[in-house]
């Protein structure tokens, strides 16, 4: 499905933004400014931008651990996300969460849970609430090919399919779970076959083609809003980096990365735009420049922001009980 001109340009800009966002995160992670483990989504932009673009602010989005891109596109000011990764008090979660726990309920970013497979059952609840409250909000959960190994995936899909809950399972098949190829961890030729075991509409699609991602996500959203139940999307993609920023990824065969880089979601989208004459090289350069301003601001804000106060560690453990510090 060909997108309208404005929309394709918009999601192209989204992808440029999150690509650049991650490149900067990688830099500041490698130079030690960003603490902890960082999982980069470079190479997976079309899947993140496409799914988020097909959803509303009021829909519930559950990013995975490789989710900075989706997180930024949910609508939180990139500044606040960057500051969170930098462990600053100005971060959207006050620096208490970091890369794996960036959430912002005001834009429907429900956050990730460091235990793989946990959000896959949590999303049952947000979807259930839509039915209970009789509104048409949809829940979309991102999970990786490796995470599909967790028992919670079964409990979730079984319940969602039985109760026809409005959930979109966005299975990001980026080929690997850390060092383990998906064909070594799962029996199916295509992982979407798993969803068919629940008689749930399941599709393997090109996760690097933003138009295909949006087309299938919109169809899934429509089914969900109509009360027809969940959909499984197996988004074929690839993470250019290793599992975490700094992982040499020695387990990847020669040339695999290069082959996937030819299928760069940004290149694919750019080619469509130029082919259709919807923008000139200069227009796209302009887009890139606009993005640079946002990124520069975000980095500056993150660098200049203060660290949290010690007392910030103690708040919101209980709704009604204060925790004493030292």
């Amino acid at each position: 499905m060909a997108l309208k001109k404005e929309r394709l340009l918009k999601v192209y800009q989204d992808m440029v933004l999150i690509r650049r966002f991650e490149e900067e995160v990688d830099r500041y992670a490698k130079n030690g400014t960003i603490p902890g483990f960082i999982h980069l989504s470079i190479g997976q932009e079309a899947s993140q931008a496409g799914v988020v673009d097909a959803l509303r602010k009021t829909d519930f989005k559950f990013p995975d651990h490789r989710g900075h891109g989706a997180i930024v596109l949910c609508g939180t000011d990139p500044k606040l996300v960057m500051a969170e990764l930098f462990a600053k008090s100005t971060g959207v979660n006050g620096g208490r969460g970091g890369s794996m726990h960036v959430n912002d309920l005001s834009v429907g970013n429900m956050g990730f849970n460091g235990i793989q497979g946990s959000t896959v059952v949590t999303c049952l609840g947000t979807a259930f609430a839509s039915v209970y409250k009789k509104n048409d909000a949809v829940s979309a959960v991102f999970l990786g090919d490796g995470t599909l190994g967790e028992g919670t995936c079964h409990e979730s899909m079984n319940m969602a399919a039985t109760w026809k809950l409005p959930i979109i399972y966005c299975l990001l098949n980026n080929q690997y779970a850390i060092s383990t190829h998906y064909t070594e961890a799962h029996p199916q030729k295509e992982l979407k076959t798993w969803g068919e075991g629940y008689e749930v509409p399941s599709f393997r699609i090109d996760g690097n083609d933003i138009e295909e991602v949006i087309e299938y996500t919109e169809a899934a959203v429509e089914r969900a809003r109509k009360g027809e139940g969940p959909t499984l999307l197996e988004l074929m993609t690839y993470r250019w980096q290793g599992h975490f920023s700094g992982d040499p990824a020695a387990y990847r065969p020669e040339g695999e990365l290069e082959a996937w880089q030819k299928k760069d979601p940004l290149i694919i989208a750019k080619a469509k735009i130029l082919d259709r004459g919807w923008a000139s090289e200069d227009d796209l350069t302009k887009i890139a420049e606009d993005v640079e301003v946002v990124i520069a601001e975000a980095i500056k804000f993150a660098l200049e922001s203060p660290s949290p106060e010690l007392a910030d560690a103690l708040t919101h453990v209980y709704a009604d009980i204060e925790v004493e510090g030292r």
Binding site: H101, S118, V121, G125, A129, Y132, M159, T315, H316
Partner: protein
């Protein structure tokens, strides 16, 4: 004289009245809707509110995960897990999801849910249907563990638990279900995090919850004959513990016996004892004794289960020992 009903009926009534009062409250779990629960506790709810009572598959992680997500959307799930032992299969959802959700959302939302679980031994169902699970959960900040001992407490504490904005594990001891007691018909709350001094005394404090409370009272009568005056403290909420009430009592008596079901090592009695040794050591006149189950998986044969479980005469012996010290 006020109305007497059973512990089960008291819980059922609390659920009905809270469902009536607040339409964000709903129940879910295995066989809780149409059948009214494996133990009959949710009887009559589904017929009154068919859209607010849900029979689920055998998917405990999904039940708790759904409850977490629904909480974030402002609902108040009351999930039943049947036997508390089954918390083990959805343990992650309790300790890493429900318990940490409010912290993760910086207070903007949290897991305002109740997990009802049938706890303890006594019905000859062996080692997978007899667990006391509080020790699995008491090192996890964010959780609340409530443990009623009477029908009156069961109703008032459940109402308070449903209205509470933290994830509450509500322990229902299977041997208490058929016990009867006075319970007001109108809805009422018994505050969480507050222990109750059941009987005042001067010589020794006995801390006892759930079925152990009755055993402690039996023991206290026996000990009174021997001229020993026991003060009995019922924690009601096991976690977070009401330190102040326990400290006040032991500061007065100077002696403590903890009567607790479940293995001794790292039972909740360990925390009670350690807390006191840290806070009011100077008031302690004697060793702090723990009367508990024997540290083994629960065997099936009645003679063996009865041997493994604690009993009143063990409490009597322990109290006499600390008095004799």
């Amino acid at each position: 004289m006020a109305r007497k009903i059973s512990f089960s009926k008291a819980i059922n009534e609390a659920l009905h009245q809270e469902m009536e009062r607040d339409e964000t409250v709903f129940i879910l779990g295995e066989d809780v809707a149409k059948m009214g629960g494996d133990f009959g506790i949710t009887m009559g709810i589904w017929s009154k509110w068919p859209d607010r009572a849900f029979d689920t598959a055998l998917s405990e992680s999904a039940i708790l995960g759904l409850s977490c997500g629904a909480s974030v959307c402002g609902l108040r799930p009351v999930a039943e897990l049947m036997f508390a032992d089954f918390i083990a299969v959805c343990f992650d959802q309790l300790v890493n999801n429900a318990a940490k959700l409010r912290y993760m959302y910086n207070g903007r939302a949290g897991a305002q849910m109740v997990v009802r679980a049938v706890t303890g031994g006594g019905i000859r169902c062996a080692y997978h249907h007899s667990a006391c699970v509080e020790p699995w959960l008491m090192n996890v900040p964010g959780l609340v563990i409530v443990a009623p001992a009477t029908p009156y407490e069961a109703k008032g504490l459940l109402v308070a638990s449903i209205r509470n904005n933290n994830p509450v594990v509500f322990l229902e001891h299977k041997l208490l279900y058929n016990t009867k007691g006075e319970v007001p018909e109108e809805i009422y709350e018994i505050p969480l995090y507050k222990a109750n001094v059941e009987e005042e005394g001067t010589d020794v404090t006995i801390v006892a919850a759930m079925t152990m409370l009755g055993m402690a009272k039996t023991a206290a009568q026996e000990l009174a004959k021997a001229g020993i005056s026991c003060e009995i403290v019922n924690p009601r909420t096991l976690f977070p513990l009401d330190k102040a009430t326990i400290i006040k009592s032991v500061a007065k008596t100077g002696r403590l016996v903890i009567a607790q079901e479940g293995p001794k090592v790292m039972g909740y009695g360990a925390e009670v004892s350690a807390m006191l040794a840290e806070e009011i050591f100077e008031y302690l006149k004697a060793p702090v004794k723990r009367v508990t189950s024997i540290d083994v998986p629960m065997p099936f044969a009645p003679v063996l289960e009865d041997y493994v479980l604690p009993n009143p005469s063990l409490i009597v012996d322990a109290v006499k020992a600390v008095m004799a010290f």
